[in-house]
């Protein structure tokens, strides 16, 4: 008999989804209670997962198709916290657009469920199932503000391109299956040898599909449009939560089944990383819409995470995970600021709208200042440490070219972050924005900003948590 306790978080969350759906159908005006219940669900799931972290080192289930280890637990917790915070700061935004419905929390929960399956997967089929579950929920979320043309366009675009990438991924999976005779990661790892010429195609297809999901250059085309068109809270969800899951899968693919084929994929990852870092930095310069800018900046940040993965060392993997965790906090803070730019039920999302913000909203601008400098990677803020660990791991492997290109592109990226700071601090002021924000929004902004600002005092804690992850 399998130990079902290990998949209790997934079981709990799927039961809750069904219950919430039934509740939503039979009870009228149930959006508020669905919201609260789903928050509660995420919280409980997080607690169960946290409990697991301390009791399990590495366990497999269902013919070794699901794996529970320290990486999966940590990434699930980050996913759940991210999902919780996104949900909690969404409500006032959704109410403004009159889309405060039961579907929203249910969709978020299902995509989280999909991600949790992805994170734990140790099998091509399980992985693909999780991926599709999260993607289908995300397509609907992108079009969630269905009265707006841009939102529908974003959802459709996302659907078409993402389906294409899923197709590539599936094709890659089938090739790998064909050569190894199994869908299980561990068995594939033993069966594969680099002499198989066609196998490279399989790996490339899988990597391309995954690169699509984390929007690494040159498979990033969908990101700016989808990020711009989707409702802001959904964009926030897109920029943080699916990335965590996709990154974990990336790590699993590279370091479990394909570890022996490192010569084949290492150059690909280095290329993806350099291209994302450079392109993300350069393309963001000309943007006028903040959400589009964030899309490009997130492409750049994914480049840095991939740089850690390219090192083929535990240090590199750990640094990537640290990077993505700090990136989640920074993005959360940035979007909290964005959601505060509201004046009489209208949200503003152009960079111009930030003009002279520091005169009317000194505290908000101070937070933005900290966040933007942190995103630019200036010490002593958290963003610097994120980059620092990555480049430390990269240089350990003597990959000087990658490190130097990466650091030089931070200088280019610094330019567009500075441009926003310039607009906030040096330009003429505009009308005041509303200040009656929900408590949760203020809370998430304050906490994340303080975390970014004071991370340098206790940098060891995060490292300690992450250092338990030893894949290789």
């Amino acid at each position: 008999m399998e130990n079902l306790n290990l998949v209790l978080p997934e079981i709990f969350i799927s039961l809750s989804i069904m219950f919430l759906l039934i509740l939503g159908v039979f009870k009228k005006n149930s959006s508020k209670i669905t919201f609260n219940l789903s928050l509660f669900t995420i919280l409980i799931t997080a607690i169960i997962t946290l409990n697991e972290t301390f009791s399990v080192s590495r366990e497999t289930l269902f013919n070794e198709s699901v794996v529970i280890d320290s990486m999966s637990s940590l990434m699930k917790i980050i996913t759940l916290i991210g999902g919780f915070l996104v949900l909690v700061i969404s409500s006032s935004y959704l109410k403004t657009f009159k889309i405060y419905n039961i579907e929203y929390p249910v969709l978020i929960l299902s995509s989280i469920l999909g991600m949790m399956v992805m994170i734990s997967s140790n099998d091509l089929i399980v992985f693909y199932m999780g991926l599709e579950l999260q993607s289908l929920a995300l397509y609907v979320l992108a079009t969630y503000n269905r009265d707006q043309l841009k939102s529908s366009e974003a959802g459709l675009k996302y659907f078409v391109l993402s389906a294409l990438s899923s197709g590539l991924l599936l094709y890659g999976c089938s090739l790998v299956y064909g050569f190894s005779g199994s869908t299980n990661f561990d068995i594939i790892s033993n069966q594969l040898n680099s002499n198989e010429y066609v196998l490279t195609f399989g790996i490339v297809f899988i990597l391309v599909g995954l690169a699509f999901k984390i929007s690494a250059v040159p498979f990033h085309m969908w990101a700016p449009d989808v990020y711009e068109g989707s409702p802001t809270t959904v964009t926030l969800f897109f920029t943080i939560v699916p990335k965590i899951a996709a990154l974990t899968v990336f790590i699993r693919f590279l370091y479990v089944p394909f570890l022996n084929l490192i010569d084949q994929w290492q150059m690909i990852i280095i290329f993806l990383s350099i291209a994302s870092m450079v392109f993300g930095a350069v393309a963001a310069i000309g943007q006028t819409n903040i959400k589009r800018l964030i899309a490009y900046s997130s492409i750049g940040h994914i480049g840095y995470t991939l740089a850690g993965l390219a090192t083929a060392s535990n240090e590199g993997i750990q640094s990537s995970i640290i990077y993505i965790s700090i990136y989640v906090v920074m993005n959360l803070a940035l979007f909290s600021c964005l959601l505060m730019l509201r004046r009489k039920d209208q949200y503003y999302e152009n960079i111009e709208d930030l003009s002279g913000l520091s005169k009317n909203h000194p505290l908000l601008s101070l937070c933005l200042l900290v966040i933007l400098f942190s995103l630019a990677g200036i010490p002593p803020l958290a963003g610097f440490f994120a980059k620092f660990y990555v480049f430390k791991a990269v240089l350990e492997q003597s990959m000087f070219f990658l490190a130097i290109v990466g650091l030089l592109s931070t200088v280019v990226a610094a330019f567009y972050y500075l441009r926003i700071i310039k607009i906030i601090y040096f330009d003429k002021e505009k009308d005041k924005y509303d200040t009656d924000h929900s408590l949760w929004l203020k809370f998430s902004l304050t906490v994340s900003t303080i975390l970014i600002l004071l991370y340098f005092i206790f940098p060891s804690q995060l490292i300690e948590v992450v250092s338990r992850i030893n894949i290789i």
Partner: protein, 493 residues
């Protein structure tokens, strides 16, 4: 371990800034904010004086060392001072209160935020000078960009945005390569602790590249020709207090970095690259002096003179002679005082006339005599007249240079003459001549606070000009030891 005096020096300004942050910002009546900031910095100055008094001049080892685990098994928060760094700390704590007193007229809006920026800047600068771990050094070195960017950008002149961006991106571009070098050093030697690195030494085959990476950062910050172009822009557009901080302290970070890191960690590479430094320094001295001659803007002229003076400093450091390095340190201290004073004197007339152009002025001596006398003193100190601190530094540097390389020394001496030329010509055009501009007739002489700060700066300039022993005694043992260490390293390889 004793009382963590260095950490308190670093933290005190931040505490002051936090206090200011939580006080209400009343428009128009910001005197309380100013007094709080002034009080903090003066206390900091007193602590640093105490540090100097209790500093043991007879040893070259690091004193007041604090060593705490910061990132387990990787970085320690390690600070400490030796004879070289202590003077820079005192310079920092001395200049900052003067900046704060001087903001009277030049900063019109958001005085409280300005003071917070200056206080945070101070703590970062002190951190740079006492960091004994490369990563900690880098953190402070880079973090200083943020407040300076804001100081130039928010309170600067017309082209402030351009200047602030140029300053930030130039310096960042230089520094990222240093970060690569620092991490590489960690992987090569297994530590980033400077004291340990002095003992282990770094393998010769890596030294050249690492030296170049550090050089790229320090050269931009110094600034050396040809990467000096950010400096005139930043100086001209920054508010007076910002220019003072930039010229007096920020530029010294690089000179200090050259002595502490380039010489200390990469002795062989320093020897290899001496010709490069000599060439760039000599070009800086001659070329920027000539540029300074042609300037019409007073602040720009002083900015270019800073580049020339820093050329002397880099020249002196890489003579690798006792006199040369001592001269460079004294020249940096002296330039810190003199350039601060010159920017403040320009600030005085700028506040009254709102023009920095030399052609606006002329004949000031008959209307504002007190101002003219002090200006004369600072101009003469800048050109290195015997009896001022500027002379001691330049003289020692040239002495070191003559020992090492005759040709370079001769060319650098021509630079001294050019320095006299542009400074005296500036003085002549501003102070003497006929009073043509009618607005100047009603210009007011120094008020009490201006008089006070300028005298505060004049006193050490004259004192150390006549009696440089306190400075030389403080640095002597450390410099001797540095050179001995350098020579043994060269000899052993």
């Amino acid at each position: 371990m004793n009382f963590p005096i260095l950490s308190s020096l670093i933290l005190l300004p931040i505490v002051g800034a936090l206090f200011l942050f939580f006080t209400k910002d009343k428009e128009g009546n910001n005197s309380t904010a100013k007094y709080v900031a002034l009080f903090t910095t003066v206390v900091n100055f007193l602590i640093s004086i105490y540090l100097w008094i209790s500093f043991d001049q007879s040893t070259s080892s690091f004193q007041f060392v604090e060593d705490r685990v910061w990132i387990e098994g990787f970085i320690n928060y390690k600070v400490g001072v030796d004879g070289i760094s202590i003077l820079f700390i005192i310079l920092t704590t001395f200049i900052t209160p003067i900046c704060i007193i001087s903001v009277n007229n030049s900063v019109k809006n958001r005085l409280r935020d300005f003071l917070i920026a200056i206080l945070i800047m101070e703590s970062f600068m002190i951190g740079v000078f006492c960091a004994l771990d490369l990563v900690v050094f880098y953190l402070f070195f880079e973090a200083g960009l943020i407040p300076m960017f804001l100081i130039i950008g928010i309170w600067g002149g017309e082209r402030r945005v351009y200047s602030a961006f140029k300053f930030f991106l130039y310096t960042l571009l230089g520094s990222v390569l240093m970060l690569v070098a620092i991490i590489s050093i960690y992987w090569i030697t297994g530590t980033t602790d400077v004291v340990q690195l002095y003992e282990i030494g770094i393998d010769v085959k890596y030294q050249n590249l690492l030296w170049l990476a550090f050089f790229s950062s320090f050269a931009v910050k110094t600034p050396m020709w040809p990467v000096h172009t950010w400096l005139p822009d930043a100086h001209v557009e920054a508010p007076t207090a910002g220019s003072v901080l930039l010229a007096a302290i920020l530029l010294k970070m690089a000179g200090y970095g050259f002595i502490r890191f380039s010489l200390g960690l990469f002795p062989i590479a320093s020897e290899v690259f001496t010709p490069l430094i000599y060439t760039l320094s000599v070009i800086a001295i001659i070329f920027t002096s000539l540029i300074a001659l042609m300037q019409e803007d007073m602040k720009k002229l002083i900015a270019y003179s800073s580049v020339a003076h820093m050329g002397f400093v880099t020249l002196g450091i890489f003579t690798l002679q006792q006199q040369g390095i001592e001269g460079s340190i004294i020249q940096m201290i002296s330039h810190g005082l003199v350039s601060a004073a010159l920017f403040l004197t320009v600030g005085v007339v700028y506040d009254r006339m709102h023009s920095r152009l030399i052609s606006t002025y002329g004949g000031l001596v008959s209307v504002i005599p007190k101002y003219s006398i002090l200006f004369m003193l600072f101009a003469l100190a800048s050109l290195g007249l015997p009896g001022t601190s500027g002379f001691i530094g330049e003289f020692l540097i040239l002495m070191g240079a003559f020992k090492d390389n005759f040709l370079v020394a001769v060319i650098a001496s021509i630079g001294v003459i050019l320095g006299a030329a542009y400074m005296l010509w500036l003085y002549k055009r501003v102070i003497f001549g006929k009073l043509i501009n009618k607005d100047l007739k009603t210009i007011l002489d120094l008020n009490r606070s201006e008089y006070f700060i300028l005298s505060c700066l004049a006193a050490p300039i004259l004192f150390f000009g006549f009696y440089p022993d306190p400075l030389i005694n403080t640095i002597e043992v450390s410099v001797t030891d540095l050179i001995n260490m350098h020579n043994t390293n060269i000899a052993s390889k």
